[in-house]
Subunit: 197 residues, 2 copies
């Protein structure tokens, strides 16, 4: 036996990435075997190596593509305006983007330690670039007197952690719609930088 009816590279490839994403998110990279991924796709383990160099690349490519897509989407979402408007845009963008891709968000900060050193460095660089987007807004707002902030770096890390945390508990069929969640987080963010409603 070999090639099955109607099977193609353009079909199996995405299925492999999707299966890896789902399984890594649910059980963790180290706990998932190539045979498990293959089983989910419907092929034997050996066939996976037509689509990835090795298991590590499967994880790294998912994370890298996620971070690059995040940065590209953020670029599109940048708006003109004062620091407060930009902060609101960043907050709403971050929450919306993260709520739509819970598995990618999850593995991208949960599986960092399973990356080989050079891969880890590459992801960290992308992550830093994203954090800098927020830090720049906070710095500009503080400098302009729009925000009241102590240490800008701590505020950046604290707000990123708060906003990213949303994907840890939000459920699509939960109590509140995504838009209401975004409103609530924006309310907290706005006040935390010293802007009264």
């Amino acid at each position: 036996m070999a090639r099955k009816q109607g099977s193609h590279s353009e079909i199996t490839g995405p299925k492999v990435r999707q299966a890896a994403l789902q399984l890594f998110a649910r059980f963790g990279y180290a706990a998932v075997s190539m045979r498990q991924i293959a089983g989910e796709v419907g092929v034997q383990a050996g066939a996976l190596y037509n689509y990835t160099a090795d298991k590590q690349s499967l994880l790294f490519d998912l994370m890298r593509e996620h971070m690059e897509a995040l940065l590209a989407a953020r670029k599109e979402a940048v708006i003109a305006g004062d620091a407060l408007a930009q902060l609101e845009a960043f907050t709403r963008f971050h929450i919306a983007y993260h709520l739509e891709r819970p598995e990618l968000v999850f593995i991208s900060y949960m599986e960092l330690r399973n990356l080989e050193p050079e891969n880890f460095a590459a992801i960290e660089r992308l992550r830093k670039a994203y954090e800098d987007e927020l830090e720049t807004i906070l710095q500009r707002g503080a400098h302009a007197g729009v925000f009241v902030l102590g240490d800008t770096k701590i505020a950046t890390l604290a707000l990123i952690a708060m906003l990213t945390g949303v994907s840890g508990w939000y459920r699509k069929d939960g109590r509140l719609p995504a838009s209401e969640v975004a409103d609530q987080y924006w309310d907290l963010v706005r006040k935390s930088v010293g802007v009264v409603g």
Copy 2:
């Protein structure tokens, strides 16, 4: 060969837990083998089973003891006073406690998915109890008109995520001392619940 000079249960037991904690925190539960833990302790893998029923119990016991110690310490740190004072006490307690135990904090929310269902449920119950401490303060403050809050549940989750995030980047030899970090976080928390400085 067998028992070595000067080795005792009271010495090896804690060493096993400590080695497991360090290795789980660094590489993740699934990526660490019993032989690795044994190597760190200085014994053969079989000897570990004098101190734990199995690998899962090693993880679960670390997490359960951490959560129970956290709840016990929190109990000691509760103060009388209005909601604002209580929120400040909670914030400072949380940061101080988490900065002192980075590995335990890390594995306790990173390795949740590696717990067997009943163990997961037990840890989640303890985590919920801790979250409720904060939610109660927020509810009381909002009811008393001290805090200006939208959805209390979201605020609870958002603030917990923000505060716990501190252990993700804080380094003892970093730019700022722990007390200064706590001050900065308290400033953000206070403002986010609508209390102006």
